[in-house]
């Protein structure tokens, strides 16, 4: 067992996972580390088991072999300092609760007064304070995803997992959400793990991009992104450094698809 000597918030150590009846395992000896405060993006060809990996990282699922350490410990349930935003807001925001109630969902143990304050602050942070009393299904896709983001940060997590959070919204909204997430993660000095199939998004947002192979998923390479924050949708994406890194990640993923 690896002790927490290295300041890693998340250590994925040689994990494998297969589903009964399936001939090929979905994860096969996958290893990477995430330091505190680091923004890690995981990219890979579609259908390579990114969601399974994320569920293992969230302790929602246990690997068959290998271990996932959260701040140095093996856990059987998600710790209170871990939070997720799922891709499909329509299936993760509770349709029977208003936006405010959805955001306050994880604060049942907190007193009503404090809860109201924290919910209001989270809604302000995602600029959704005007929609507090509405139901999520009355909002646009981007607003719903902001609501899901507010629900995740209101519990003051240390580690935020993002499962393709921008895949179900249109392009302009996606850029706005990317900026918002980067801003919030830096303000709250969160460790963030983003799973995405959008390589440009990964390079743009992360400190480190982990490239996965096709099924069964292994780590092909890790690419460090040393572009200073704050990053800008136009200026950053035109720098030679960004273009070089994007080229590098694209090439790695494309080699996987060819295989």
């Amino acid at each position: 067992m690896i002790a927490e000597t290295d300041g890693a918030i998340l250590t994925v150590d040689n994990i494998s996972r297969s589903y009964p009846g399936a001939p090929v395992p979905i994860l096969d000896g996958l290893t990477f580390r995430q330091k505190r405060g680091e923004f890690v993006a995981i990219v890979g060809p579609s259908g390579c088991g990114k969601t399974t990996l994320l569920r293992c990282c969230a302790a929602l699922m246990q690997p068959d072999a290998g271990s996932v350490l959260h701040a140095g410990q093996i856990l059987s349930d998600p710790p209170p300092w871990l939070s997720i935003v799922f891709q499909d807001y329509n299936r993760s925001l509770f349709p029977w609760l208003s936006v405010k109630q959805n955001v306050g969902f994880g604060l049942a143990h907190v007193g009503k007064h404090e809860r109201d304050e924290r919910v209001a602050a989270a809604l302000r942070a995602v600029r959704l304070d005007h929609a507090a009393e509405l139901y999520p299904w009355q909002l646009s896709g981007g607003m719903q995803q902001r609501c899901a983001l507010a629900r995740s940060i209101v519990v003051r997590p240390k580690l935020l997992l993002l499962d393709e959070p921008f895949a179900s919204v249109d392009a302009q909204t996606r850029f706005d959400l990317q900026d918002l997430v980067m801003e919030i993660c830096r303000d709250m000095s969160l460790s963030t793990l983003l799973v995405t199939h959008d390589m440009e998004e990964a390079v743009f947002m992360a400190d480190k991009v982990v490239v996965l192979s096709t099924k069964p998923a292994r780590v092909v390479d890790e690419v460090a992104i040393n572009i200073p924050y704050p990053r800008d949708q136009l200026a950053t994406k035109e720098t030679p450094e960004f273009l070089r890194l994007r080229h590098q990640v694209y090439t790695l993923v494309r080699q996987q698809i060819r295989h």
Partner: protein
């Protein structure tokens, strides 16, 4: 404009058909007097006595009271047990074959043993009604709980909810649409069991009133009793739909249907 014309046309068609059928009834009742077909006025008088007069307390209210108690027991019990079963794979695997067998026993068959063990009491009648109602609720709750979006449950787990809190705060709501579909079927079955339990062993209630009227060849009473049961069924269904609309207003919106 065409819409209201259509509505007036539909309404007049409906009124014509009802009036025509009533006229044939009245004509037949007057032309062939006998115990099989009473004149409309007699049926109406008897109906009015049941919903308004002295018979309300001896015939209608006892039935209604037993139906509501039995239905509530079945609704709460069926929902609780069903949600628990639906949330647990092993419980489901164990109970499914048993339920698959039990649901095919016609509920009426429970009447003789209930009568034997509990006697001709209100407890027996409420038990029989609850027994008849519980299966649709149970099966609907199991089904609803099994079909909860996995992401809802993941969200609940990430937010630190234990098994009980997950059922209470997530599964219960997510299964609510399915649960209400079961409750509507259960209400119809409850009405059937209410009548049967009173036809066989009772000294009050609407079923008993119908049976006594039939034995005394007071056919107006028989028809009026059936009409009262129809009224009860119609009112209770409407009430349940009203509750459903309130409780499930989010469901229509979520599914992209217009919300009023």
């Amino acid at each position: 404009m065409t819409n209201s014309v259509q509505r007036i046309r539909a309404l007049s068609l409906q009124i014509m058909l009802i009036a025509g059928l009533l006229a044939i009834w009245q004509w037949a009742a007057v032309t062939f007097p006998g115990p099989t077909l009473p004149p409309l006025l007699a049926v109406w008088r008897s109906y009015w006595r049941l919903v308004q007069g002295d018979l309300l307390h001896t015939a209608v209210l006892p039935s209604l009271y037993r139906l509501l108690i039995g239905f509530l027991i079945a609704a709460v019990g069926g929902a609780l047990i069903g949600l628990a079963i639906g949330c647990s794979r092993s419980l489901d695997a164990w109970s499914r074959p048993v339920l698959e067998y039990l649901r095919y026993i016609p509920a009426i068959a429970i009447l003789p043993p209930a009568l034997l063990i509990l006697g001709p009491t209100d407890t027996m009648r409420i038990f029989v009604i609850a027994f008849g109602c519980i299966f649709p609720v149970l099966l609907a709750a199991i089904d609803g709980a099994k079909r909860v979006e996995p992401t809802f449950l993941d969200t609940a787990r990430v937010n630190g909810l234990g098994a009980i809190a997950r059922i209470r705060r997530v599964v219960l709501f997510a299964a609510m649409p399915s649960l209400f579909a079961g409750l509507r079927i259960a209400l119809g079955l409850g009405l059937i069991m209410m009548v049967i339990s009173e036809l066989i062993a009772a000294d009050n209630g609407i079923g008993f009133f119908i049976l006594r009227s039939q034995r005394l060849f007071q056919s107006a009473g028989v028809y009026a009793g059936v009409l009262v049961i129809g009224t009860i069924g119609w009112l209770l269904t409407a009430g349940l739909l009203l509750v459903e609309r309130r409780v499930l207003h989010w469901h229509r919106g979520w599914r992209g249907l217009p919300v009023d």
